[in-house]
Amino acid sequence: MSRPPVNRRPPAPLLPAEDARDGALVFVVAVLCFIACLALVSALAADRTAHGWRTELRGSATVVVRPGPNETPDAAAARAADALAGVKGVSEVEALEKEKAEALLAPWLGKDLPDDLAIPRLVAVDLDPKAPASAAAMEQALKGAGVDATVDDHSLWLKDILRAGLLAQTAAIGVAALIVAAAAAVIAFATRAGLQARGDLVGVLHLAGAEDGYIAALFQLRFGRMAAIAGLIGAGAAAAVAAIVRLLGGEAGLMPVLPVAWSDLLPLVACPLAAGAVAALAARVTALSLLKEMT
């Protein structure tokens, strides 16, 4: 038997499309995403700065030469430079002249130094970045040449820089974890409020044979989509701020310690996805937990 054709539009969403709380929730999650993205950009910039410092320090060493009783400081420095030039892993050696050594000490001792002040003579050593010579190898070469000298391979500073870099990374991870937890808590709260406000709807769905997972998926989809939009807004705002910093400050950024690079903005693309995923998970876990308490 033929029946009249029926052309229905697709079924309406089982959760009402709009909710007065949605706008506020998008705003809160967008702000959290904005802060998280700025923290991420800062962490990336800090990491790059620390990496540059490490490379610089690892690529050089300074040798302090003490002249023997019967030789001039210049002669002692020249002998030290000769001895170091033959060490494997040393790419360039330069015995600094007295004027350069005094210039290096000027910030601490001033410019007009007395003539009888014994100024240590320095030898600047550039190391092969791929296989740098060790301080021990350089000391052994100096000792073999009969030069009284101390090798400073900057390991003391390297440790401090590594520690500072690690601290910056840990702080960034901590901030990110806090923000993720806060976002998850906000979404969980919103889900709980949404489920309780829609108790009648949930009841009807249950009684009509909907499974908990099906109902939870409605809220999961709703809050996941909403958080993804908020993530897009937050990441976009953070990218705009970072771009302004980059454009105003050039390569060094507004703060030389945190030079923002354009590549730092790329990871922000993942923010909407991450926000959506965190929100969807929080909504699902909360909804399933709450549904067990409901008939």
């Binding site: 038997m1 029926v6 229905r8 309406a12 089982l14 009509a208």
Partner: protein, 249 residues
Amino acid sequence: MSRTADAGPPLSESIEPPAANDGPVVRFEAVSLGYGGGPEILKDMSFELEPGSFHFLTGASGAGKTSLLRLIHMVLRPTKGAITLFGRDTRSLQRAELPLLRRRIGMVFHDRRLLDHLDAFDNAALPLRLAGARLGDYQADVAELLAWVGLGERMNSTPPQLSGGEQQRLAIARAVVGRPDLLIADEPTGDVDHEMAIRILRLFVELNRLGTTVLIATHDEDMVARSGRPVMHIEAGMLKRFSSRGAVA
């Protein structure tokens, strides 16, 4: 050829027949129910509803009719006794099993419980949608059913735009659309006129003829008398009369 409003209800064409059951669809064994430690609303109630049976549930207001239907629908748990549905003891039911059992039951709620943000069509189609059916598979059936209950021109209206009687008919359409194994209805003709009440009764009878077990709670003595179907009568929380293939224990 399309159906006319005077044809039989549109139940026999598209939906699979109910699954066969060996035992009774519903079995109450010494069931009692009380709320929050208060006095028992239902007392020591025992009966069986055989597959394909059709009963009316009568009794004064407050006698416990709605509570009994809610027990069958597993909205309430008995304080004493055992309820078996489709051969499953509901005391040992896991939460995950509830939806599948409930999909075999069509329920007409006294307070209708329609979803105000969905239109009449989507409300009526809800059980099919929850069971995973596609719109293309059910849209003609749902439209025809709505036309049969007099809502053919109102299928795009939301419940707040419908009158009380229209809402009642929509709730009935939702309950029968999936051709459930068991239909329980709480005062299904309370808000409709005499002609529509007869029409709705025909729908239930047709559903029953196709194998659905039917239990209707009603005050409508005229409908009970006209149908000639057996009656379960509750008085002071106890089952006083049971005329059917089952029997009061």
